[in-house]
Symmetry: C2
Subunit: 185 residues, 2 copies
């Protein structure tokens, strides 16, 4: 299992965006499992889980790694899936919703760390806008890295994503000023 898989294909993102499939991938982070185990843990019938597993397998997100008795054991193909979708109408709603969740988490982390936020809703909206801008602007570089199919470690991915934000520093300077105005450091 590789450490990181960068997902840019809108079709793959679409498959991933289903809540049950998301849960299956989350469970498989713990360890490889059979359809039976997954269906017990999810409280869903075997046929449904099997169908989801097959959809995930077709997109290269899970793979059969073993059989135990007559049960097939499935694993994730990477420990971390990084979703950096090419803009596409079919997944725009999902993309907007995860940007929203991410913006909310960032604000929450800043608050929990004791930073004073002047206007929470304004900050969330602004951070979401920034995340969107960064994502769209880094897309062409991310796609080339993803297409080159280089095996990245998580730490390498961290640095690389940081670099992609850094590359856009000049364009992001005004946004940064506005965000920093809303936080007391």
């Amino acid at each position: 299992m590789r450490e990181v898989l960068i997902i840019t294909n809108p079709k793959t993102v679409k498959v991933l965006s289903d809540p049950t499939r998301f849960q299956i991938l989350k469970l498989l982070r713990e360890r490889p499992m059979s359809v039976n185990e997954l269906s017990d843990l999810l409280g869903k019938d075997r046929t449904t889980v099997y169908r989801h597993i097959k959809a995930l397998e077709a997109e290269g997100l899970v793979e059969e790694i073993d059989t135990e008795g007559n049960e097939r054991i499935y694993a994730r193909t990477a420990r971390m899936f990084l979703i950096k979708a090419e803009p596409d109408e079919s997944i725009e709603e999902f993309r907007q919703s995860y940007l929203q969740v991410e913006a909310e988490r960032i604000v929450m982390i800043l608050e929990k760390s004791g930073f004073q936020i002047k206007d929470r809703e304004a900050l969330k909206a602004l951070i979401k806008e920034v995340l969107n801008t960064i994502e769209l602007r880094s897309q062409p570089v991310i796609k080339r890295i993803s297409d080159a199919n280089i095996e990245l470690t998580e730490i390498e991915l961290f640095h690389l994503l940081n670099m992609l934000v850094f590359f856009q520093s000049c364009e992001l300077c005004d946004h940064a000023k506005r965000v920093k105005d809303l936080i007391s450091f």
Copy 2:
């Protein structure tokens, strides 16, 4: 085991910077192990490995999670350790050497992805300088987040680190121009 532990204490970084301890932590990423297993895999005697394990345990990097027979089983306390050390003379050499390694990896990833680099050595040096600037400037915020002891997921950590680079956009704009001049996009 938590997902992420941010390490800012120079003493902890010092303990981590020993190559054998680094290898022990790498092996424990696969699964929890006993001192015997570790000493076999490392080709080092039990007493040495035991001493390293105790040093790592004292810094909260590994913990005893089980016993099997009369063997204690040790695990990492987090799946990912993010080193963001406070500047300190005792670890400056280690810090410079990991920034160097990271800068080299970033250049390598860009090259493997098919980007033309105009002057490799100049780019490495510049990226190392940028990584250093980013690390030093984000240190106060990182330290607050680390001290707040919030359990972050890896994805949250990604976004947070990206935000810290973003916060410095205005100050990094000139650097970004210089770096982009050395890469053909």
